[in-house]
Symmetry: C2
Subunit: 392 residues, 2 copies
């Protein structure tokens, strides 16, 4: 086990009706003038936006609004939000939505307290040291951004999107309000994308070269098994409160790093995926569903026993003691079957990706300027092979 | 799943050499004059106390010391600590030791900020609302007090000890420094007591009537399986860093409530045990090792399938689908075998408890003024039956 620091100070308010406490929570953290940041569509139509707005105003807190966040959130709105925060002297940001809204809010929160260009944090030029405090009301179980220190933003350039991430403890939400009922109306494809995303967050931590990490292995496995058990229930009955609640909390456990401390983590599949959603604007979870099994197939030989453990403990595949690679491969097939069973894609074709774009994707990865993967550090050839497997 | 709030803001610094950061951590949280609270013996002899003292002084932080904490920490030293904090205008408390030292530090931290008698918090007369901020350097993996909101103290009265607990977010440590190497010299019996204690913390949460808590079930199971896997390694080789590290982190996971959110918890076995350690001054873990299997045997019929799940998922007992109670009983036997295998007692006799004291123990439980158990709420007759099973 490696040395680590673990710090997760977010206050989680979980359960039915909890969004009514939004205003009070903002007040608890000293917010007097809040930026209410959201997407659009469902939060407006469902009346949730209005309820949250009322809860804030009921506490005598001033409220400025910025809607319009899109999936794979863009830099344009971030710049707008930063300007707005400065102009209006915002002292708290409330993100109402899923990971995209929260990530956009985090970028605004950091950018508004920084003299330079907020993109410096995402390009690796600078590190977030302070940010306007923020809270979340979560409406999509997926990204884990409600508890994480991370944010992913797409920079709009003349030549398309550049999707990059940053991390800082200053970006951790002060509080996150999680009412599983708010996810009842999420369409099946988005629900399933979220399920893949949270599973992928655990898997990026699970495939490690670090030894002596039994506790976190078991926590990873427990979280994944739960996701697999609960997923069919929410797909079949989107209003199953218990199943939605388990999926929602699993999404937080998957990314608050409880499953990742003291071990090397990989994150190559996320890197490979980001170029897919940057180029094709597909759902992040859908992109991961395509990339992860391809990555597994390509790197399996690096540590067959770890893949066998994955197969055996998570999918209950019987261990083939004479040929562990048979078990290992069964695990990958089981994962693909599971993802297919909830309507997720496992090939380029299904997300509108094209094999002829592979050279472009490889260029976008910008491997000259960064490393990709820790379990296996990927070369350009490795990345090409993985994209090829995914495009079969 | 029930509604819940989860809040665990402690900063954990985990790994080799981390105790060297003690002074810096205290400084980060604004400490200028610290009470260094500890037990004695090993922390002095090993030189750890001196190292920590130096780390504090190196940051220019004033340091007042109060040693002498005993296992099952007493009210006498707490009163002394409260006086000392007031007189010396202490603004931070550092607990250097295991759960007893940390619990004593928590009592002092709360008591020093309170006008009344600190025992009010433990007798249920008052609730802790503020406390001097505290940090810990952990030397025993067991109690989980390094991250929990709880503290247990024994009141010294003319007629023996009264052992009670209190809980408050104000008691959560600001930071906890956890170096597994500091547990290398822990004697086998204390190591094993700690293992039982942390397992019991998960089990108090595991046996619940709440349905729809799949994720926390799996996290409980993962934590318990890990403890069972790592325990023989630390018993065989006390200097096995990886095993000590897994046990240490499991102890934190067992009690930071990651395993307990959204569900009813029981805590009857802890209540039944507290009277044993109050009367016989046995190790808390040893008392739990005696009480828990007896409690399980007595309440098993309340939910046979949950006990079968415990047996099957944690100890790998094959499910007997025709007679689930066979599996359930096998789980209890497996637990007893495991505890015996690490040298822990499973009967009254082994801890010097006497069956003729049972009426006294029952009186000490003070059931007229409090409830015991949630999974099954215990009557005086239930408690008697459990003590009788343990004294067979």
């Amino acid at each position: 086990m490696e040395n680590f620091t673990y710090y997760s100070p977010t206050r989680f308010l979980f359960g039915r009706g909890k969004e009514q406490d939004t205003g009070r929570c903002i007040g608890d953290f000293g917010g007097k003038k809040v930026l209410l940041h959201y997407g659009g569509g469902s939060v407006v139509e469902s009346g949730l936006l209005e309820r949250v707005r009322e809860s804030i105003k009921a506490e005598g807190i001033e409220c400025v609004e910025l809607g319009g966040v899109k999936p794979n959130p863009r830099s344009g709105l971030v710049y707008e939000g930063i300007e707005l925060c400065r102009r209006e002297k915002i002292d708290f940001i409330l993100a109402l939505g899923g990971g995209s809204v929260i990530d956009s809010a985090k970028a605004i929160a950091a950018g508004a307290m920084y003299e330079g260009d907020f993109w410096d944090f995402y390009s690796g030029k600078s590190v977030v040291e302070k940010a306007i405090p923020l809270g979340t009301v979560l409406t999509i179980a997926a990204a884990g951004s409600e508890s994480s220190s991370a944010s992913v933003i797409s920079l709009e350039t003349g030549e398309g999107m550049v999707k990059r991430s940053t991390m800082s403890d200053a970006l951790r939400p002060k509080f996150s309000i999680m009412n599983p009922e708010l996810t009842f109306t999420l369409p099946p494809y988005q629900t399933a994308s979220g399920i893949v995303d949270m599973m992928a967050h655990v898997m990026e931590r699970y495939f490690t070269n670090t030894r002596g990490v039994g506790v976190t292995d078991r926590l990873c496995e427990g979280t994944m098994i739960s996701i697999i058990e609960e997923a069919p229930k929410v797909m079949e009955n989107p209003r199953d409160y218990e199943a939605r609640a388990n999926i929602m909390w699993a999404g937080t456990m998957a990314h608050n790093n409880i499953c990742g401390v003291g071990r090397q983590q990989d994150w190559a599949s996320h890197g490979l995926e980001h170029e897919l959603s940057a180029l094709y604007d597909c759902a992040h979870g859908a992109g991961l569903s395509v990339i992860f099994p391809a990555w597994m197939e390509h790197v399996m030989s690096h540590d067959v026993m770890r893949f066998a453990q994955f197969a055996n403990r998570i999918f209950g595949c019987e261990m083939d003691f004479e040929n562990p690679e048979v078990t290992a491969k069964r695990g990958i097939e089981s994962l693909k079957s599971f993802w297919k069973s909830i309507g997720m894609p496992i090939s380029f074709e299904e997300i509108g990706a094209k094999s002829e774009d592979i050279p472009l994707l490889l260029d976008m990865l910008d491997l000259e300027n960064r490393n990709l993967g820790v379990f296996v550090e990927l070369t350009r050839e490795d990345c090409e092979a993985i994209y090829r497997i995914a495009s079969r």
